[in-house]
């Protein structure tokens, strides 16, 4: 194939084929266009204001490294007047974070940004290594994700920073759109598609809550282009598999996204845009516009799960469990079971006011004896309250992190076999309690 010239400058050899529009660009033009598009995202959504202090959630990985580099460039080029700092979370995984934190430290020097590293140990009293010793390798990503989510907010409030930016990219958003769509979780769909979210900080004193704003300036940037940007700009980033997360790619929502991209590269942004459009239609969503029109939407703790190494990215099992769920629903509807949404008491009115549990719980509890059909959620507003224990925004009385910690702390003196059991039990019981409570309320 003869080399094609760049579509913009018409001089240099094209090296990049853009997934969103198939345009062929040279290295220089690509870098400029990539940065300019993020600038437009920032301006169109009014993400920042002059004088704002912003913490960049930095993992040393490609996304946050590119985010830091681009924000520094844009802050200077367009004179945003931002005070940018780096905030890193140390989950306490020996050998994993050691290297990535070294990368973040180098980044801090390279970009001339202040860096704060905050450990799970000081935040929760548990390092991930200790959690894994307790619960085993299976399921520990849940802990990691739940703790991580709060850790950035806690860290930010400690630094008196009111705005945290994260490196979530278009692939990440497309993936959560698909997962929430398959689960029928429309309220969460609306939250995860919005570019700005806010959570009250998890300060020890709930009355002194300051809202921590979260935003994703790379929301419309393809993962492919983020990697290419890092490559062509020679950015120093760290990549490894999270050693506790067995790579389960086949059958994951991520795999679906990557396969779609190979067939039709524009699919990723199409999914993101469709997610936004659907979010607008969700009745009772937190904002009429689903947050797309720049006002912020409360983020729930469950917004991002998953392992620290892969921000909120799904693992192989998820698609399979969604599929199993759908098959069960089909079977249920064949037997006319789907309308039989009974209360726990099973008497009379048969209306369940149960708020839908928002974690992974529906997948595991639903389908039992056809109790819960896959009926689309009504505009049931998820009531966001605060965790009784720590004050963090939560749809439960006690937030996920506190529930997990309770399980961990209870189990601490026992031996590990009992422990794994015990921890699972905690969440199942609390769900049962939840259901009991709601059915009483319904009577």
């Amino acid at each position: 194939m003869p080399p094609s010239p760049c579509a913009l400058c018409k001089v240099n050899r094209a090296l990049i084929l853009r997934p969103k529009d198939h345009s062929k660009l040279c290295k220089t033009c690509f870098i400029t266009v990539f940065e300019t598009e993020i600038h437009h995202t920032i301006i169109a959504n009014a993400l920042f204001h002059r004088g704002e202090k912003i913490a960049i959630g930095a993992s040393g990985g490609k996304d946050s490294t590119v985010l830091a580099s681009v924000l520094k460039t844009l802050n200077e080029r367009y004179d945003y007047g931002l005070d940018l700092i780096l905030l890193s979370i140390d989950e306490g995984i020996k050998g994993y974070r050691d290297d990535s934190l070294e990368t973040v430290k180098r980044n801090a020097e390279q970009y001339g940004m202040e860096l704060t590293i905050l450990g799970y140990e000081e935040l929760y009293g548990w390092t991930m290594d200790q959690v894994v010793a307790q619960v085993g390798k299976k399921g520990n990503c849940t802990y990691c994700g739940v703790f991580r989510r709060q850790a950035l907010d806690r860290g930010a409030s400690r630094l008196e920073v009111k705005h945290v930016v994260t490196g979530h990219n278009a692939d990440d958003v497309a993936e959560t759109v698909l997962m929430n769509l398959l689960r029928g979780d429309l309220p969460r769909l609306s939250r995860t598609t919005s570019i700005i979210t806010s959570t009250p900080s998890a300060s020890a004193n709930p009355s002194s809550n300051t809202n921590i704003k979260r935003s994703k300036p790379l929301k419309y940037a393809y993962e492919k282009e983020i990697v290419l940007y890092a490559h062509h700009k020679n950015l120093d980033y760290f990549s490894t598999e999270c050693i506790y997360s067995p790579e389960a790619f086949r059958g994951s929502a991520r795999a679906l996204i990557k396969n779609l991209e190979r067939v039709r590269p524009s699919a990723i942004l199409d999914v993101v845009r469709s997610g936004e459009d659907m979010a607008k239609l969700v009745p009772g969503s937190d904002e009429g516009c689903g947050g797309v029109c720049s006002s912020s939407v409360p983020a729930a703790e469950e917004e991002e799960g998953g392992c620290g190494s892969a921000q909120g990215r799904s693992s192989g099992g998820e698609m399979a469990s969604v599929e199993a769920q759908l098959r069960q629903n089909d079977a249920a509807s064949e037997h006319n079971l789907e309308t039989e949404i009974t209360t726990a008491g099973g008497n009379g009115s048969g209306k369940q006011h149960g708020r839908h549990d928002s974690g992974a719980a529906p997948l595991s509890t639903a389908g039992k004896k056809g109790k819960k059909g896959f009926t689309p959620r009504k505009a049931n507003k998820q009531v966001m309250g605060r965790c009784k224990k720590c004050g963090y925004l939560s749809s439960q009385d006690v937030c996920k992190a506190c529930v997990l910690l309770e399980g961990l702390n209870k189990a601490r003196p026992k031996n590990s076999i009992e422990v794994a059991y015990e921890v699972q039990d905690v969440s199942v019981n609390s769900i049962k309690d939840e259901l009991k409570k709601t059915s009483i309320g319904a009577d």
Binding site: K27, S59, V227, L228, C242
Partner: protein, 107 residues
């Protein structure tokens, strides 16, 4: 395969992919100039060659899926996206620098 001539090339792995290749990022290789059927060596052949002769990690599916480079791994041929060069049909030339970059590892 009567043609014993080999094509000297450089192959590079990054973005976490090097983990599958003994943690070595750069390899200088001599690729047979023809594939199993005697056709000029192309990237598809290179990928098979890497899988069979260079990769020691048993998890081949993390590099190859359904007969081609797993989606989510970028291939750069002399810095250019392989889609600009004919993807796996690109015929490998002497001195080529072929890079495999994973986009799938930590953000």
């Amino acid at each position: 395969m009567q043609n014993d001539e080999a094509v000297p090339i450089t192959v590079e792995f990054s973005g976490g992919l090097e983990i599958l290749f003994s943690n070595q990022k750069k390899y200088s290789l001599s690729l047979p100039s023809q594939d199993e059927s005697g056709a000029p060596a192309n990237v598809a052949f290179l990928v098979r060659h890497l899988c069979e002769n260079v990769m020691k990690d048993p998890r081949k599916e993390l590099f190859i899926l359904d007969g081609t480079v797993r989606p989510g791994i970028l291939v750069l041929i002399n810095e250019a996206d392989w889609e600009l060069e004919g993807e796996d049909q690109y015929e490998v030339q002497k001195g080529d620098h072929i890079m495999f970059v994973s986009t799938l590892h930590g953000g």
